[in-house]
C-alpha cells in the first residue's frame, strides 16, 4: 500500500532536483561522496531513509552527480488508521545530473526516477544560471517536467494487489536571482509556477459525510479537480556577522487555484568553532488556509462538485526547531580524500490542524468517548527528524 502522502514521489524528485541545482553558477562544486541516514517519527509513521551521493568533476567545465535514496516506511497515519489498515512500504529513487559550464553560464540537466509499488514518477529538469554585472548577480531559469503513474493497493501491506488508476503530469517554471548587496550581505529571490493535470487526489484518503448510521458519518471517495496551478515566491537574505558567523532570513508566499494561501518564514544561524565544528540553528513557521473544496465533514455525499478531506489541504500551522553540528574529523584529509566531515542534525516539528479532526479513536459511540461527528478534537502531532551523514571531499 502506498503510505506516502499524495505526490510524495514527485515531491521527493523535485526536492532532489533542488539538490542537483544547488551549485552556484559558473563554478563547479567540489567532488564529494556522501553517505546519509535519516529517521522520521511522528503521526504514527516511522520512516527511515538511506542515501548515497557521488559528485565528480571530469574537467573544469563538466561534472556529473548520481544519487540513490531509499525510504522505508512502517506504521499508519491517522487517516489510514481511521480505515483500519496498517502500512509498510518502500520507495527507491535514482537520480542522475550533469552540469556544464561555458564562460559565465552553467547548464544543468537532471533525471530522477522514483518507484513505489503503487506509484511511479519520472522527472526531468533543465536549468541555466548566468553570472552578470561583475559576477554580483546570478540569474537562474529552470523548467521541470514530471510524469506520474498513480495506483492503489487493494491487497494488504504484505500481499499487494495494485490497481493502476491513472496518470498525472506536472510542469514547473522557475526564475531566480541571487544578488550580492554588500561584502557581508547576499539576497535572493525565486518565483516558481507549477501546473498539474490528471489524477491529483490521494486514493488512500477519504471524505467523510454525515450519514444515518450508528457512527453518525460514513467515508467516501474524494473528488478533485483534474488541474491545479500554483505560484510560490520566496525572498531570502544571508548576512555575515563580524565574528565569523552567519544569520539568514527567508519568507515565502504561496497561492494556488485550489484556494490555498500559505506563508513560510525561516530564521537561521550558523556558528563555526575552532575550524573543527560548525553549529547551526534554525526556526521555521508555516501557516496555510484550507482549499476551497476541503471539508472535515460534508453534510451529505455529493454535496458539492469537488470534495476533499486530505489533511495536506486543511488549514494548518506547523513550527519547527532544528539544530545541526558538522564535525571536520579529518580536516587534513586521508588516502584520496582532501577532507571529511560528519554531520548530526535533529529537528522537532509541531503540526497543528485547524480544520482536520482526529477520528482515529473519537466517534459517537461509548467506546470512542461520545464525541458527535464534527466535534472531535482537532488533530495535532509532533514529529522528530534525525539525520546523520558522512561527507568525503576529494
Amino acid at each position: 500500500m502506498r503510505i506516502f502522502p499524495r505526490h510524495l514521489s514527485r515531491l521527493a524528485a523535485v526536492a532532489t532536483l533542488s539538490l542537483m541545482c544547488s551549485a552556484g553558477a559558473a563554478v563547479l562544486p567540489d567532488d564529494r561522496a556522501d553517505a546519509f541516514w535519516s529517521s522520521y517519527k511522528g503521526g504514527g509513521m516511522n520512516i527511515t531513509g538511506e542515501s548515497v551521493l557521488v559528485r565528480k568533476k571530469f574537467s573544469e567545465q563538466f561534472s556529473a552527480q548520481a544519487n540513490y535514496f531509499i525510504d522505508k516506511v512502517s506504521g499508519a497515519s491517522v487517516d489510514v488508521l481511521s480505515q483500519a489498515s496498517v502500512i509498510k512500504d518502500e520507495r527507491k529513487q535514482k537520480s542522475l545530473s550533469v552540469d556544464y559550464i561555458h564562460d559565465k553560464t552553467q547548464y544543468n540537466l537532471s533525471y530522477t526516477n522514483s518507484t513505489e509499488r503503487d506509484y511511479i514518477s519520472s522527472t526531468t529538469h533543465f536549468s541555466l544560471s548566468q553570472d552578470m554585472f561583475g559576477d554580483l548577480t546570478t540569474v537562474t531559469l529552470g523548467f521541470t517536467d514530471s510524469r506520474d503513474k498513480v495506483g492503489e493497493n487493494n491487497g494488504s501491506a504484505f500481499k499487494p494487489v495494485i490497481a493502476w488508476l491513472g496518470h498525472a503530469q506536472s510542469r514547473g517554471y522557475e526564475g531566480g536571482v541571487s544578488q550580492v548587496i554588500t561584502k557581508n550581505l547576499i539576497a535572493g529571490t525565486t518565483v516558481e509556477v507549477i501546473t498539474d493535470q490528471g489524477l491529483l487526489s490521494n486514493p488512500y484518503r477519504s471524505i467523510r459525510y454525515r450519514d444515518a448510521v450508528p457512527l453518525g458519518y460514513s467515508l467516501g471517495t474524494q473528488v478533485y479537480p483534474n488541474t491545479r496551478t500554483s505560484t510560490a515566491v520566496e525572498g531570502r537574505l544571508k548576512y555575515y556577522l563580524p565574528y565569523r558567523a552567519a544569520a539568514s532570513l527567508s519568507y515565502r508566499y504561496f497561492t494556488d487555484t485550489w484556494g490555498i494561501r500559505a506563508n513560510t518564514i525561516e530564521l537561521g544561524y550558523t556558528q563555526p568553532v575552532a575550524n573543527k565544528f560548525i553549529f547551526e540553528g534554525r526556526l521555521r513557521h508555516y501557516s496555510q488556509n484550507s482549499a476551497t473544496f476541503y471539508s472535515d465533514l460534508f453534510p451529505f455525499a455529493g454535496s458539492q462538485n469537488f470534495e476533499a478531506r486530505d489533511q495536506n489541504l486543511a488549514a494548518q500551522t506547523n513550527n519547527s526547531i532544528g539544530a545541526k553540528m558538522t564535525w571536520a574529523f579529518a580536516p587534513e584529509g586521508f588516502l584520496i580524500f582532501k577532507r571529511a566531515t560528519a554531520t548530526f542534525d535533529v529537528s522537532r516539528i509541531q503540526f497543528k490542524y485547524r480544520a482536520f479532526r482526529n477520528i482515529k479513536y473519537f466517534n459517537d459511540t461509548p467506546a470512542g468517548g461520545g464525541y458527535k461527528p464534527g466535534a472531535e478534537p482537532l488533530y495535532a502531532f509532533d514529529a522528530m527528524v534525525y539525520q546523520v551523514y558522512l561527507s568525503m571531499f576529494f
Partner: protein
C-alpha cells in the same frame, strides 16, 4: 493639436528619457563589491544550502505534509564569488 495628442507626445518623451537613463545606468554599472572583497561571501557558512541531500530531505518532509510547494530557493544559488 489636441490636449490628448500633447499628452501622448509628453509621455513618449518621458519614456524615451527614462529608457535612456536606464540604459545609461546599465552601461555604467560597476561591481561595487570588488572580487578581493568577497572572501566572506565565499565562506562555506554563507552557502544557501551547504549539504544538498539534507536540504532536499527537509524540503521534502515539509512539502509532503503541507499544501504548498515550490520556490524553496535552493535552485537559485550562486553568490557571484568566483
Amino acid at each position: 493639436m489636441t490636449t490628448r495628442a500633447v499628452s501622448m507626445r509628453t509621455s513618449l518623451k518621458l519614456a524615451v528619457v527614462g529608457v535612456g537613463l536606464l540604459l545609461g545606468a546599465c552601461s555604467s554599472i560597476q561591481p561595487w563589491v570588488k572580487p578581493y572583497e568577497r572572501d566572506r561571501l565565499a565562506d562555506p557558512i554563507m552557502s544557501w544550502n551547504r549539504d544538498a541531500i539534507s536540504g532536499a530531505y527537509l524540503d521534502h518532509i515539509n512539502e509532503s505534509r503541507e499544501g504548498s510547494r515550490g520556490a524553496t530557493g535552493t535552485a537559485g544559488g550562486g553568490c557571484g564569488c568566483n
